[in-house]
C-alpha cells in the first residue's frame, strides 16, 4: 500500500528578518540572476502515514513541535 503523504510548509512570519534568505538573495545576484526582489527560506516537512491523519492532529503537531509560532507560520498540504 502506498503511504499517504502530508506536507507541512514552515515559513518565517512576515516582518521577521531572514538573514539566510538575504544571503541566498545576495548569492543569486552574485551569479547574475537579477530582478529578484526578496528571498525567504523555509522548511518542508513530509509525513508519510498509512491511516488518514485528522486535521486536528496535523494542526497540533505543527503547534507543539514542527513550527515555533513565535516566529513561524505553517501550512498543511494534504496529499
Amino acid at each position: 500500500m502506498i503511504p499517504l503523504k502530508t506536507r507541512i510548509y514552515v515559513t518565517l512570519k512576515p516582518g521577521v528578518l531572514d538573514p539566510q534568505g538575504r544571503a541566498i538573495h545576495n548569492a543569486l545576484e552574485g551569479l547574475g540572476f537579477d530582478g529578484i526582489e526578496g528571498v525567504r527560506q523555509g522548511k518542508l516537512i513530509e509525513l508519510e502515514h498509512g491511516a488518514d491523519l485528522s486535521d486536528e492532529d496535523c494542526d497540533a503537531m505543527c503547534r507543539k513541535l514542527l513550527a515555533n509560532t513565535v516566529i513561524e507560520n505553517y501550512r498543511i498540504e494534504r496529499g
Binding site: 521577521v16 528578518l17 538573514p19 539566510q20 544571503a23 507543539k64 513541535l65 514542527l66 515555533n68 513565535v70 516566529i71
Partner: protein, 221 residues
C-alpha cells in the same frame, strides 16, 4: 545549594557548568540525563547547559524542549526552583515556553565566538545581585543562533518590568534591543547567550561570570 545540571545528547558545556557550580558552592551538582522524568528532591538550582542538543535538529533547542526531563524542569520552575539556561539552554527555555521570544540565526550569519562587553541591566534578580546596576562586564559568547526576537509588546513588557538582565554593549548578533539575557515574570528563570561558566577563575583570564553563581548561592543558600 543543591544544584542539578541537565544533559542532552549533544550538550557540551554541562561539565563546565558543573565545575563552575562546584567551584563556587563547594557541592558537585547532580547530572540529570534527558530521559529523567523527575528532578531530585531538594534541588534549588537547575542549570540547562550550552551545546548542540539533538544536533540542533529542526530548530535550536526544539527537540530538547520536548524531552522528558524538560517537563520535570518546567514543573520545578513552576514551584519556584531557580533555572539558569546558558546559550543552547536559553534556546531550550524559550522553546519550552518558560521564557518569551525566540533565538534566531545571527543577523550576520556568522558563528560568533569571542568575549563580548555586556551591561548589567538589572541587578535586582537572584542571578545578578552580585553585580552593580549598569556595570560593564565581559563574558564570552559562542553561538550561531543568538539573535533574540520577540514582538514589540513583549519587548516593551520585558524592559518595563526590568526583566532584561543583560544587554550587549554593542550589537553582537542582531538581537532586538541588544538583549543578551532575560528573566521570567516570577524572577526565578534566567536565559542568557553568554557563558558565565567560562569566566569564573583567574586562569580563565576574567572572573566576571563567577558573581552570577555567587548571586545564586546567596539567594538559595
Amino acid at each position: 545549594m543543591k544544584a542539578a545540571v541537565v544533559v542532552f545528547p549533544g550538550s557540551n558545556c554541562d561539565r563546565d557548568l558543573a565545575v563552575a557550580i562546584e567551584e563556587v558552592s563547594g557541592t558537585a551538582p547532580v547530572m540529570l540525563w534527558h530521559r529523567e522524568t523527575e528532578v531530585p528532591d531538594g534541588v534549588d538550582l537547575i542549570a540547562v547547559p550550552g551545546g548542540f542538543s539533538y544536533g540542533d535538529y529542526l530548530r535550536s533547542g526544539a527537540m530538547a524542549a520536548r524531552s522528558p526531563v524538560m517537563r520535570a524542569v518546567a514543573d520545578a520552575a513552576g514551584r519556584g526552583v531557580a533555572v539558569l539556561g546558558v546559550c543552547n539552554g536559553f534556546q531550550v527555555l524559550t522553546e519550552v515556553g518558560l521564557l518569551p521570544g525566540a533565538l534566531m540565526r545571527n543577523a550576520g550569519l556568522a558563528f560568533v565566538c569571542r568575549s563580548v562587553a555586556l551591561e548589567v541591566a538589572n541587578n535586582q534578580s537572584i542571578f545578578t545581585s552580585g553585580y552593580e546596576a549598569g556595570e560593564e562586564i565581559a563574558i564570552p559568547v559562542a553561538h550561531h543562533d543568538g539573535n533574540y526576537v520577540a514582538d514589540t509588546d513583549v519587548l516593551d513588557r520585558l524592559e518595563g518590568e526590568g526583566r532584561v538582565a543583560l544587554r550587549y554593549a554593542e550589537s553582537v548578533n542582531g538581537s532586538a534591543r541588544n538583549i543578551a539575557g532575560i528573566i521570567n515574570d516570577a524572577g526565578n528563570v534566567l536565559g542568557l547567550m553568554p557563558h558565565p561558566e567560562r569566566v569564573i577563575e583567574p586562569a580563565h583570564g576574567r572572573t566576571d561570570g563567577r558573581r552570577m553563581f555567587e548571586s545564586l548561592l546567596a539567594a538559595v543558600g
